[in-house]
Point group: C2
Chain length 673, copies 2
Amino acid sequence: MIGEPLSSDKLEGQLLPKHLALPIFASDALSSVAYGPQELLMILTLGGLSFLTFAPWVAAAVVVVLVTVVASYRQLIKAYPSGGGDFEVAHKNLGEKAGLIVASALLIDYILTVAVSVASGVDNIISAFPVLNTWRVEMAIGFIILLAAVNLRGVRESSKAFALPTYLFIASVLVMIVVGIIRMALGDAPVAESAQYAVKAEQFTQVGMVLLLLRAFASGCSALTGVEAVANGVPAFRIPKIQNAKRTLLLMGGIAITLFIGVTTLALISGVHYAEDPCNLIGMADCATQPQRSVMAQLAAAVFGGDTQILFYVLQGATAAVLLLAANTAFNGFPLLGSVLARDGYAPKSLSTRGDRLVYSNGVLVLGLGAGILLVVYQANLTALIQLYIIGVFVSFTFGQTGMVRHWLRTLREGAGGAPMTMKRSQIIRSLSINTFGALLTATVLVVVTVTKFTHGAWLVFVIGPILFVLMLGVNRYYGKVERDLTVDDITVFGSNGDHAIVLVGRLQKPTLKALDYAIAARHVSIEAVHCSIDDDQTALLRKQWKKMKIEVPLRVIQSPYRDISFPLIKYIKKRRESHGSEVVTVYMPQFIVGHWWENLLHNHKARRIRHKLMLCHGVTIALVPWLLDSSKVLYSRPGRPLPGQERRGEPVRRAVIRKPLPPAGMSSTRRR
Amino acid sequence: MIGEPLSSDKLEGQLLPKHLALPIFASDALSSVAYGPQELLMILTLGGLSFLTFAPWVAAAVVVVLVTVVASYRQLIKAYPSGGGDFEVAHKNLGEKAGLIVASALLIDYILTVAVSVASGVDNIISAFPVLNTWRVEMAIGFIILLAAVNLRGVRESSKAFALPTYLFIASVLVMIVVGIIRMALGDAPVAESAQYAVKAEQFTQVGMVLLLLRAFASGCSALTGVEAVANGVPAFRIPKIQNAKRTLLLMGGIAITLFIGVTTLALISGVHYAEDPCNLIGMADCATQPQRSVMAQLAAAVFGGDTQILFYVLQGATAAVLLLAANTAFNGFPLLGSVLARDGYAPKSLSTRGDRLVYSNGVLVLGLGAGILLVVYQANLTALIQLYIIGVFVSFTFGQTGMVRHWLRTLREGAGGAPMTMKRSQIIRSLSINTFGALLTATVLVVVTVTKFTHGAWLVFVIGPILFVLMLGVNRYYGKVERDLTVDDITVFGSNGDHAIVLVGRLQKPTLKALDYAIAARHVSIEAVHCSIDDDQTALLRKQWKKMKIEVPLRVIQSPYRDISFPLIKYIKKRRESHGSEVVTVYMPQFIVGHWWENLLHNHKARRIRHKLMLCHGVTIALVPWLLDSSKVLYSRPGRPLPGQERRGEPVRRAVIRKPLPPAGMSSTRRR
């Protein structure tokens, strides 16, 4: 008896209301505010403090892109509400290869989301407690391990625990911005600790200056990462899904823009000087050993001084927490991408169906390992990692927008052809304009980002991306070939004669008896028990027990000189088939069912090896007779643990309980012959 | 048809002749000469150059231990020729827990063998090409990856390629020693490059001085690592195994002692000054950036100057090569240990049988990963790693010797009781004395090593060791419990009635037809095909095809609202059993057989998930009907690749070829009903 399937209103209750969807989907985008302004200012500072006058313009440019991207995604949600996001749009409108490019970029992105968010989170923690600086990389790895462990266990994203940090972060930053502006209005502008330092600047040619501004703009665009999350998660919203998703996206965009502008303004007001190499700050003591505090920390320290210092720690804590949540986002996001890819045959099919914990666990481990390696290689250096980050994001933006442009053009053409349209023509043209502008803008940013960041580490993305592309294409071609091989054609006929059963016997234990029992019950034409002798004492004992229990199935002993079971058995079966013709030989073997994952390391290996070899013989079928070990009781009562990404797919997390059956009905007091 | 089993003389040909056994088993012990003298001198130098006068005495003490250990192991080989080594001796004579302590120590040792050998090899390479110093850790990791990859592929240890570096190393070092001594006799003593540097020494109290000497002695004892390899590999020798093994061990010990004494003498003659912190060498330029050349390299450079400089590079190359071979030793040694442990139930049983490539691959990966982590954490610093290394070695020495003492005492007692003895009483007493002295000596060294190295990193061994101990004990207790659960008792009877077959049908493809065919051939009392409908179009197509092909097995369609196959199926089976009684339900499912490992990522997952859930139902047996994909042709003609450790177990590496069968005899021109 299985637990009752959820009735439809319970199903509705599993979907996300807007106030819970926001923290889940927005944590990535909002947390980018922790490092976006910082990177922007940092690049500008390379040219000297005078360059900071350009900051408002560069920030404004970033905001323009942000607004455009948000508006564009609202169109995407409207047209493709199934949650496929940029991949689906690119795949359906620009072709298979464009879709795969987007998929590769997104996969790389997930790993970088984890790495960048953790690096930034650690940076903010160290900014609150500078003594931890020597443990930067260790802390980062520690957080990766924590995130991986939590996601292996399975946790519900929609719990209130997840919502709190995001709202706390938004609130704290808003409070900080407001207080800072009020103080400035009152004439007591906050002053950052690094305002006192002058900056050793490089000299730039005119071209170099322009490039520097573009670099700063590109770095500031790291604030856009995470905006696509809502579009990927539309199925998770309550009805009306599209409208709720669009509203949440708008809300998220608005908050992100507000925070971005606010933090940048505050940074300029309080004179934060943040340099790529801290030793370029003239006047900073111990520049080689003392960590440079993050911009967020410096602002918080400047605004919340004295009596309100507790708020400084609250802000840092909330920042670190929301960054960890953003990293967690990746663990929940990639299964979605995996299932979309698998559905179209670009990834192993096992990803497309629900509930394969093993597959998700492997994915969690791959993601954690990838991020961990990045963190170690780059020594948890936030700036270095961000160079890799932005490329992937803007690749998917650009392809997504371009795909949308094609989509609207096609819709217009179909409308012109007389097909009924669900949207008014003016609306379509409006959407088309938004997406066109978005496509052009993000393409420009992509070129800028690539050119300015290539030598700073972004080339790595252009190496790994194609590798993923080739892998996915290869998987698709492979599945296609297998599909063709499996298709029934007119010349395929089967015909087997004969029916023989072999029960594989090692030692005489309960599972063996059960296998015998089932083999007998299946009433094969002929049946025998086969034992491969690798230990003479054991064989002699077996014969004795066989006689004693008066088992009437004949026992055949095969000699095996090399302690090997498979080959003598296979020889025997083939010899039999030569004499008996093309019969089907069913080999009965016990299979242990265990309750804990680690028990799988301790059972079933030998049997599986034998099985794999036997299956290479023609005419052989393996019949697995389950034997439930004591620990398997656990399986009966284990409630359904949440799997990563389930809530984003709008799948109910059912409490699937298999009730333990009554005492085995197969047992009776008569002994079987 | 399988390849013919090797006749007995061919089997003999697979065993190792002495001249091949020496390089395989001695590489670890001989390569220790590359770092043993170095560490000894380095610790002494901490007290200042005057301490080097103690070097001959400390070295002599190390030689005494070496001689004793070699002599003791010759006794062990005589008494326990099955290759269980120290573990078996401790297990059989000192009890289960002592055996597990040895096993834990040995496991840790294997990982450290890899780490230390690779670190030393890299050190010697950098000593030849100092410009590579910045890539020390990367090179080390690179070698780990190479070793792991080679062992995953499988390579024959007994190939001449493996013998050459060891003999070349022995020859080169001997030549170096001889030339150096001749030059000294001729009045042109070689002078090391570091002889010019004075040493900044620490001040020591008297107690401190004694401790320093003991530390130097303990570090010098790292030259003993690897001596146990022969005892673990006795089965691999040609007949007479025991005698050949003893001779090889004697030869190996002699060479090791000669090289150790020679290198140490040469180092003292040429005035090598090697310091733990290179900046303590007064006069050395760029002490922070320039790597300190290894003692081997300095000696080679001093002896082979000018015209014979090519020999310098030959020696460095041979040293690096023999160290890599020593690391490779661990990859081949641990499967032996694993099989011994598994035989006694302390490790997963899958390790005890031959030829599970998956298990060995996992072991290779674990070993590589462990060594890699150590190398990264300790930044490939040889000295730091050696602190961990010696403890484990001497734990197993001590327990092994003590166990032998008990063994001989027991043999004497039995002899006194009148039982026939295979050895003369005087011989036994001689063996007993050797082992007693060995036990006392190694126990003393163990205490010294522990005390002097504890704070320098050896505590890690005392943390990990107990963890392994607990794990192995846990596995043993677990297997014991399962064994008791499985034992047939008088109340166990089975009795099933009824026999129903279900063929699981997804889409109508060739594997499905084969499964139907086999199910029909097995002549079950009743049979039906069951399809779980998750896609209405697919279901409709299936019904159509079913009719068209005129398949007479009835097709039953079960609705599944959640895209889930397992639960509706289980519900259906249980309902059936309630109405039909305790029948055996055989569920026929296709299983893909693939040729390449990566294809397993792409197939069979969904089926396996369904299978696992089905097996929780009572009365269910799963019948796997193999479907051989095209790529499986590879499996038929793949020759047996060597598995790590096979040669050390004396197992033949058979070329097991499964000849491809004739065109499937099961196909005929009549269509089955």
